[in-house]
């Protein structure tokens, strides 16, 4: 079946098997493998993307459900060589090890800080509890969130 979806601001078309997930559409048809396939049951958050602005697990959404709608992925967070402050903070704090969970975490953190620019640690832990990381023990991811939140607030203040 033909699916037409706006992905990172650009309308794309693909002929997919009707059972395909949005994750499969992104990864295998549209050349956007940044969203990861770690559990394919909505448990790990590695495939987190925005669908019409809502944070979803792309593995739990059918490609067909994305027809005519807007999807934003990790690849759309910062153009070209540019880095989003959250991405910078993840690199700087050592929040990345194998990196397989990282795109999903970065998207989930971006969503969180958009809704709540000054989250408490408890709030951050609750908000990110749907994203699994097997390498870091989360300490440095929490550090990255604090650093990114501080920097993003600072930039807001400067504007």
């Amino acid at each position: 079946m033909l699916v037409r979806t706006s992905v990172n601001g650009e309308w794309r078309e693909a002929d997919v098997w009707p059972g395909s997930s949005l994750l499969y559409l992104l990864r295998e048809h549209l050349g956007l493998p940044g969203s990861k396939n770690a559990c394919e049951q909505g448990e790990c958050g590695s495939c987190s993307v925005w669908l019409d602005g809502d944070l979803v697990c792309a593995c739990l959404v059918l490609a067909a459900q994305a027809h005519g709608r807007e999807v934003r992925t990790i690849e759309g967070l910062a153009a070209g060589e540019a880095m989003h402050p959250i991405q910078e903070a993840f690199v700087q704090t050592g929040a990345v090890q194998c990196g397989f969970c990282t795109p999903g975490f970065v998207v989930a953190v971006a969503d969180l800080l958009d809704l709540e620019p000054e989250p408490t640690d408890a709030h951050v832990r609750e908000a990110l509890s749907g994203n699994l990381c097997r390498c870091t023990g989360y300490e440095k991811i929490l550090e990255a969130v604090r650093l990114a939140a501080d920097r993003m607030r600072l930039r807001e203040d400067e504007l």
């Binding site: 098997w17 059972g19 990864r27 295998e28 050349g31 956007l32 493998p33 940044g34 969203s35 990861k36 396939n37 770690a38 559990c39 394919e40 049951q41 448990e43 790990c44 590695s46 992925t73 990790i74 690849e75 967070l77 910062a78 880095m83 991405q87 993840f90 690199v91 700087q92 704090t93 050592g94 990345v96 090890q97 194998c98 990196g99 397989f100 969970c101 990282t102 795109p103 970065v106 408890a122 951050v124 832990r125 609750e126 990110l128 509890s129 749907g130 994203n131 699994l132 990381c133 097997r134 390498c135 870091t136 023990g137 989360y138 300490e139 440095k140 991811i141 929490l142």
Partner: protein, 797 residues
């Protein structure tokens, strides 16, 4: 020792430089095995056994072959040459024939144009199975009348270690029995790779793995190709933790690619990942610990059983390791330790972070807590009184030759401030065990407990294994100054080894720009990214190759600048003579300098029949203290804080080292509280992240980390491996804290709510199992004449 050097080069050893693959990883641009794609590629799929033990009477593939989009359906008879593989012994069929020995064993593989078409075709393969009696309990496997997993019996290996007077008497004895569950490594990146047929009749395999060259050693004989026609390239690897030591989809993808002449990608889903790699051995441990009334250890007697599952994998090394570490990092004058690994019809077990030391740490630290109670001594004080040190003779007869700051590790850990007790009154639900979603009470029955554990682990391969790594370093002129290129086959699995190797090259060569080439088999073996060994061994190789490059550079300087007597050096891209700048390094790089070096650690020796030998090359020590809140009514646990001190030799990248310690602690917390592969008749009943729980941000507490840096003699820059000790000690520390909170004995990990509310009473100390009658101490497959991996296979197999 190397601090001075570290300060010289800003991004060299000793500095927390960001990891070199960090930017592509945060941007979603890093290509993992499952992200690979080629024009015209097919998708591979594996059909697996639904039986723990069955005879295959026949396989019918006709309907599958005729399915739409299918290009190949291959069974055992299609394996081009040798039909077995295995990390140490080639006892595992590439595809089963005649017999299957565990649920999940590969029976057939399919290549099709879409993964769904491949799945559907595989479901049309008809396998005629005759179920056979299965043995799925390790103690039952010891019985002489138990069903046999292999013709040579169910004992995979039996180890005996005798030390001092094994019958020594002590004034005070404590006895315990401990069980640990089967843990999954659960790397987030699934097993995945892409096999591409090459024009020369060979194959190029892009794969996520821990050791490219040992994969190739197993793949090439099965494909009937010489090793130089099997080229492996490391794909982005989404974690490993031991799960990628064994071959998974490698041979299957190559077979399908050679058969179809097209690139074939295989990428496991999560369910298949649980079936497709080995797990941490479940264990049962009986232990008797004797001491003087003053608290000096006199003797340790231990009986260890571990379940190796259906095939050998690295089990022989795991049971050896478990046995050598069983007494704990203490000065123990007398010991009798017996360890047995059994074959069963359960899924194969093999390497996981901690490699045998995790299971026995849970036991020896449980014993130390019991002893502290029996002697009315503070548990930390008891450990200090018995702490091993440099020179301590271990039960293997090996004297610890390197750094052994056990006392300092214990003291530094114990000195980390304990979090304040909660204020009296009703606590917010978010602070209670189970949190907002899980705790329906008000915390009336929440008890706090503190527990402590000390443990140790080797780095590098042990028991006489020739442990080496090769590295190639090239120094040349780039557009912006001198550039060093490092070519190493050391698998970057997330632990950061490529960043570490680049830091080493920067420090030795005094250049900022270091390029890490993709790891592949065009350079010699680096050994595995396991056993906490890559910083030591590949670090040693990169240091040696860089020093050889530097020596050649200095030759040129002496020749071209006529500086024969001066002491030469490099700093920030400049050659110095007696501390004075001579010229830019590039002045001497009209021709690039390339050097390849091999580094190996000192020789070790295997254990003899009494378990004596210079077994391990070096030891890593860690201590951990856990603070927990336990809701004794609901059986829920919240870990409030983990505090840990670890003996790391020298931290080449402190941020990275702390990250390893935090991550290892998290996997330990998982084993302590939630992670277990549950089996029913050999079948995994929780093969998904919905049913197999991993710690989340709500489960992991803050981890306070102290690095103890005492340089290890003979190690490059004094390093020790850092990945494993926190994983070894965390389960023991956490369970110790829960016991302290409840005043109840807990003998099994993971600890479940049923254990805590008393629905599953502790088993006490069951009878010690008998010692098996096997020709020791070699692994049974060896005495049975099973082909050892790396030897030329016999033509009839």
């Amino acid at each position: 020792m190397s601090r001075r050097v570290a300060e010289r080069t800003r991004t060299g050893v000793g500095s927390s430089v960001p990891r070199i693959d960090g930017v592509p990883k945060v941007k979603g641009q890093f290509a993992y095995g499952s992200d690979l794609w080629a024009d015209d590629m097919l998708w591979g799929h594996t059909l697996r056994s639904p039986h723990p033990h069955a005879r295959i009477r026949g396989i019918s593939i006709g309907e599958a072959v005729a399915s739409p989009g299918v290009h190949a359906v291959l069974v055992a008879d299609d394996v081009p040459a040798f039909r077995f593989y295995g990390l140490e012994f080639a006892d595992q069929p590439v595809l089963a024939w005649e017999v299957v020995r565990y649920v999940g064993e590969p029976v057939a593989v399919v290549a099709a144009e879409h993964p769904e078409l491949a799945r559907r075709a595989a479901s049309k393969i008809v396998v005629d199975y005759e179920p056979l009696p299965a043995v799925t309990d390790m103690e039952r496997a010891l019985d002489v009348d138990a069903p046999r997993v292999h013709p040579y019996g169910n004992v995979l290996m039996h180890v005996t270690i005798e030390h001092g007077d094994p019958e020594a008497e002590a004034e005070v004895w404590v006895e315990g029995y401990y069980e640990t569950g089967m843990q999954d490594q659960a790397p987030l990146g699934p097993e995945a790779g892409l096999a591409v047929p090459a024009e020369d009749g060979g194959i190029d395999l892009y794969v996520a793995t821990q050791w490219l060259h040992v994969d190739r050693r197993q793949i090439a004989p099965c494909l009937g190709l010489p090793e130089d026609k099997v080229r492996l390239i490391l794909a982005g690897t989404g974690g490993a933790f031991g799960a990628r030591e064994d071959v998974s989809m490698q041979i299957h993808a190559c077979m399908l690619a050679m058969h179809t002449g097209r690139p074939v990608k295989m990428s496991y889903g999560r369910v298949e990942s649980f079936l497709g790699h080995v797990h941490r051995h479940p264990s049962r441990i009986w232990m008797r610990t004797g001491a003087t009334r003053e608290g000096a250890l006199v003797s340790v007697r231990a009986r260890i059983l571990v379940d190796g599952g259906a095939y050998t994998s690295s089990s022989a090394a795991v049971i050896s390791n478990a046995s050598t570490f069983a007494p704990g990092p203490y000065d123990v004058p007398n010991a009798l330790i017996e360890g047995t690994c059994l074959f069963t019809n359960n899924p194969p077990c093999g390497a996981m972070r901690g490699f045998g030391a995790v299971q026995v740490c849970f036991a020896h630290e449980g014993q130390m807590d019991k002893l502290a109670v029996a002697l009315a001594l503070d548990p930390v004080e008891l450990r200090l009184r018995n702490a091993a040190a440099t020179g301590t003779v271990l039960p293997t007869g090996q004297a610890i030759g390197g750094a052994a700051p056990v006392r300092e590790v214990i003291e530094r850990c114990a000195a980390i401030p304990v979090p304040p007790d909660p204020a009296p009154g009703i606590r917010p639900a978010v602070e209670l065990p189970g949190g907002v979603a899980g705790n329906v009470g008000r915390g009336e029955r929440v008890r706090r407990g503190v527990g402590f554990a000390v443990g140790y682990k080797n780095h590098g391969y042990s028991g006489g294994f020739d442990d080496y790594a090769e590295a190639r370093v090239t120094l040349s002129t780039g557009p912006d100054g001198p550039v060093a290129e490092v070519h190493s086959a050391a698998a970057e699995v997330g632990q950061g080894v490529h960043t570490i190797l680049a830091q080493i090259a920067r420090t030795v060569l005094g250049v900022e720009r270091v390029i890490m080439r993709t790891s592949d088999t065009q350079v010699g073996s680096a050994g595995s990214s396991s056993a906490s060994r890559q910083t030591l061994v590949s670090g040693g190789a990169v240091k040696a190759a860089s020093e050889a490059v530097l020596e050649e550079l200095f030759e040129r300087v002496r020749r071209d600048a006529r500086l024969s007597g001066a002491e030469l050096g490099v700093d920030a891209g400049v050659v110095t003579a007696d501390g004075e700048a001579v010229a830019a390094i590039e002045e001497f790089l009209a021709q690039p300098i390339e050097c390849t070096r091999i580094w190996r650690h000192r020789e070790t020796s295997p254990m003899d029949e009494r378990g004596q030998g210079d077994v391990h090359v070096g030891f890593l020590f860690g201590a951990q203290r856990a603070v927990v809140d336990v809701d004794e009514e609901l059986g829920l646990v919240r870990v409030v804080q983990l505090a840990t001190a670890q003996d790391v030799g020298f931290a080449i990248n402190p941020q990275n080292v702390v990250g390893q310690i935090e991550g290892g602690s998290a996997q330990g917390l998982g084993l302590a509280l939630m992670e277990e592969i549950r089996l029913r008749d050999g079948q995994i009943t929780n093969a998904s992240f919905t049913d197999y729980l991993l710690p989340t941000t709500l489960d992991m507490p803050p981890v306070e980390v102290e690095l103890v840096e005492e340089p290890e003699p003979g190690s490059p820059f004094g390093v020790k491996g850092v990945g494993e000790p926190s994983n070894v000690v965390a389960p023991a520390a956490i369970v110790s804290a829960i016991r302290a909170a409840l005043g109840r004995d807990l003998q099994r990990i993971p600890v479940t709510p049923d254990d805590l509310v008393g629905l599953r009473p502790p088993p006490g100390v069951p009878p010690w199992p008998p010692s098996p009658d096997v020709p020791g101490p070699a692994p049974t497959p060896e005495t049975a004449g099973i082909h050892r991996t790396g030897e030329v296979p016999a033509p009839d197999r």
